[in-house]
């Protein structure tokens, strides 16, 4: 029996022959107090795991949509400690696995040990650091593991076989495969890099594999989940939030869109 919520999620999905939708939100966008309700809408729509993005002033791996989301969250005063508080509030109402998704510098400032302790206490289940390479990751991985948290790393189409082995070695919970070279953002079609990348990581790791970047439509989710265990959608959610900032039905729209995205997974289940 896996020790973490993330491990148990993928074991359950595997047992049921199902795939999962991972949903990314920039925590604090448009304001910290709004995020728990938005997360609940994602869960009602069928999301299996929520990535809570920590807003950062200089998000080099993100496209314009998530850059703007981070800017709104920062303008609303969202700090790393507020993101942990948001997680605590989500955890009071839900058992959905939560993955902290962040750039390194806010974590360095907070401290690896302090973050691991506070994240675990708040009910966060793991952490992914976008700009922390496996070469530099030992202090982070040790602190997270001691606190019983998963460490998710990115694998990319450019990763060499040697690098994929390191990514697999340091990852727990699942491995996040980047579908293409590029930054986060919606795209019309998915490239053909996904299947070969999934195949090469399967050869060296038994961990569940999620695929993200550029996935914004139900057909993308279906396509990815033919080979991977989960699909990650981020910018499409942040974009929807951005378009409906003043709309009282934002949560309902988010839930409906999530349901559209997870529909192909329901069919797979039947």
């Amino acid at each position: 029996m896996p020790e973490t919520r993330i491990g148990r999620l993928f074991e359950r999905l595997r047992g049921e022959g199902r795939k999962g939708l991972i949903a990314y939100l920039t925590a604090g966008d448009p304001a910290p107090e709004r995020t728990p309700a938005l997360a609940a809408a994602l869960e009602r729509g069928g999301a299996a795991l929520i990535e809570l993005g920590v807003p950062f002033s200089d998000p080099v791996a993100d496209g314009p949509v998530i850059q703007r989301g981070a800017a709104r969250a920062l303008k609303a005063g969202t700090r790393l400690r507020d993101v942990i508080e948001i997680a605590r509030r989500i955890r009071r109402q839900s058992e959905i696995p939560l993955l902290l998704f962040t750039y390194l510098n806010p974590v360095l400032r907070y401290g690896f040990e302090a973050l691991a302790r506070d994240a675990a206490a708040a009910g966060i289940d793991g952490c992914l650091l976008t700009d922390l390479s496996v070469e530099e990751a030992a202090p982070h991985v040790e602190a997270m593991r001691r606190a019983g948290l998963d460490t998710v790393f990115l694998a990319a189409p450019t990763s060499t076989p040697e690098r994929l082995k390191l990514v697999a070695k340091y990852s727990s919970g699942f491995i996040y495969l980047v579908s293409r070279t590029g930054v986060t953002g919606e795209s019309a079609t998915l490239g053909d890099a996904v299947a070969p990348l999934v195949a090469s990581v399967r050869e060296i790791s038994g961990l569940p594999l999620a695929v993200g970047f550029g996935i914004s439509r139900p057909e993308h989710v279906a396509q990815v989940c033919r080979v991977a265990d989960a699909a990650v959608v981020g910018s499409a959610f942040v974009h929807l939030i951005e378009r409906n900032l003043e709309d009282a039905s934002l949560e309902a729209r988010l839930e409906a869109f999530t349901r559209e995205l997870t529909a192909p997974l329901g069919e797979a289940q039947r």
Partner: protein, 397 residues
């Protein structure tokens, strides 16, 4: 002491490689290509030929007699990088990296620029080698450095305005990194300072170390001894590390880096990373960084776009902690006054960046009778005429 990074690109704790996984293998490839090129005598011959016959090396080491006499202390020598083709030291690194890009089969080159000098140098070498060139530049810097924007376009480069964040150098680097992460298979990122992920800090330093090597030879020819101090401005720190590096083992030579003191010591008003910052990670490297207590990157200010950046190059952080180099700052007003002094005593108008180094030399020289200082004039001031005009209204009546 000698200063070389470990296999992971660390100078002590600083430097390293902090980038998204997509860029890790390309950085490894770049490092391998660079190491092979360094060992290839044909590569070095071609670079030396371009440096001599295209860029105009060696640059003079000029004894500034009138300025020295005015100050009444140290003898000041100026290393005239401002006389290089394109008007600044930046061309040294651009020629090295463009040869490397060609060797790696990359047909497209991207770069960031702050003051525009690196963008102009990149556009220049891309024209020389027939490569596609895209330069990212913050909107605020485009406003401050209009002339250089036009120069880049005239040289055939595309200049992309960056409107995110503070709309300065930091944001231009982020946008260049986003382009690189997307087009990494066809594109070489010609980073212009001793910043970023390994191997950039060491590679950029190596391509600029010719500045110090020449200076050392020239000062021996002129004075028969080492200088007492070498002074250079530090934004990312490429001209400074270029002139410092050869002198690092010569412990008797003081190495003095001058950061931008801007308008004052409050966070957001300057770019003095050593006095106002703390170690952190920005855009690939771990070094002294201006940030708030939540780890968000602070805004910076300097009258000089080339020094207006939140992180200092990692080798400087290491030299600072080891006590081998000293880092001070000069404010906007001091830099402008120093430029005016140099112009009126020697007929040399320095870039605003280089004027910060001149300001520190002017401050120290009166107390240093019998000593020899070398000041790196990393660029010429023509690009800054508009800013000098705005700040010296008495001349513009």
């Amino acid at each position: 002491m000698i200063s070389q990074p470990d296999a992971g690109g660390h100078f002590g704790p600083y430097g390293g490689r902090y980038v998204p996984e997509v860029l890790m293998a390309p950085l490894e490839e770049l490092e391998r290509a660079y190491q092979e090129a360094r060992r290839d005598p044909a590569f070095q011959r071609e670079l030396d030929d371009l440096l001599a016959n295209y860029a105009g090396r060696p640059t003079p080491l000029y004894l500034a007699r009138r300025l020295s006499e005015t100050l009444g202390g140290a003898r000041l020598y100026l290393k005239r990088e401002d006389l290089l083709h394109t008007g600044a030291h930046k061309i040294n690194n651009c020629l090295g990296q463009v040869l490397l890009a060609r060797r790696m089969g990359k047909r497209r080159v991207i770069a960031e620029t702050g003051a525009g000098q690196h963008g102009v140098a990149t556009a220049t070498v891309c024209a020389l080698f027939g490569l596609e060139c895209v330069v990212y530049m913050g909107e605020e810097d485009m406003r401050r450095q209009r002339l250089n924007v036009f120069r880049m376009r005239l040289l055939g480069a595309k200049v992309v305005a960056v409107s995110s964040g503070s709309r300065t150098l930091k944001d231009a680097i982020s946008e260049a990194m986003r382009d690189w992460v997307t087009n990494v298979l066809t594109t070489h990122y010609l980073l212009g300072s001793a910043l970023g992920a390994h191997p950039y800090p060491v590679m950029v330093r190596d391509f600029h170390s010719v500045i110090g090597v020449e200076t050392r030879r020239q000062i021996f020819e002129r004075e028969g001894r080492l200088p007492d101090a070498v002074v250079a401005c530090v934004g990312g720190g490429s001209n400074a590390i270029g002139i410092f590096h050869t002198f690092i083992p010569d412990e008797q030579v003081k190495l003095i880096g001058v950061e931008a003191g801007g308008r004052g010591p409050a966070l957001g008003e300057h770019a003095a990373r050593f006095s106002g910052g703390a170690p952190g990670v920005l855009q690939g490297a771990y070094s002294y960084l201006l940030q708030d207590d939540d780890g968000q990157i602070a805004l910076t200010h300097s009258v000089s776009a080339g020094l207006d950046y939140a992180l200092v190059g990692p080798e400087h952080a290491w030299l600072h902690d080891r006590g081998r180099a000293e880092y001070v700052s000069a404010g906007d007003g001091e830099a402008i006054a120093a430029a005016r002094t140099l112009a009126t005593t020697e007929g040399i108008l320095p870039a605003l960046e280089s004027a910060h180094a001149v300001a520190e030399a002017i401050r120290r020289a009166p107390e240093a009778k019998g000593q020899i200082f070398v000041v790196n004039i990393s660029g010429r001031g023509d690009k800054d005429i508009d800013i000098y005009r705005e700040n010296l209204k008495d001349l513009d009546a």
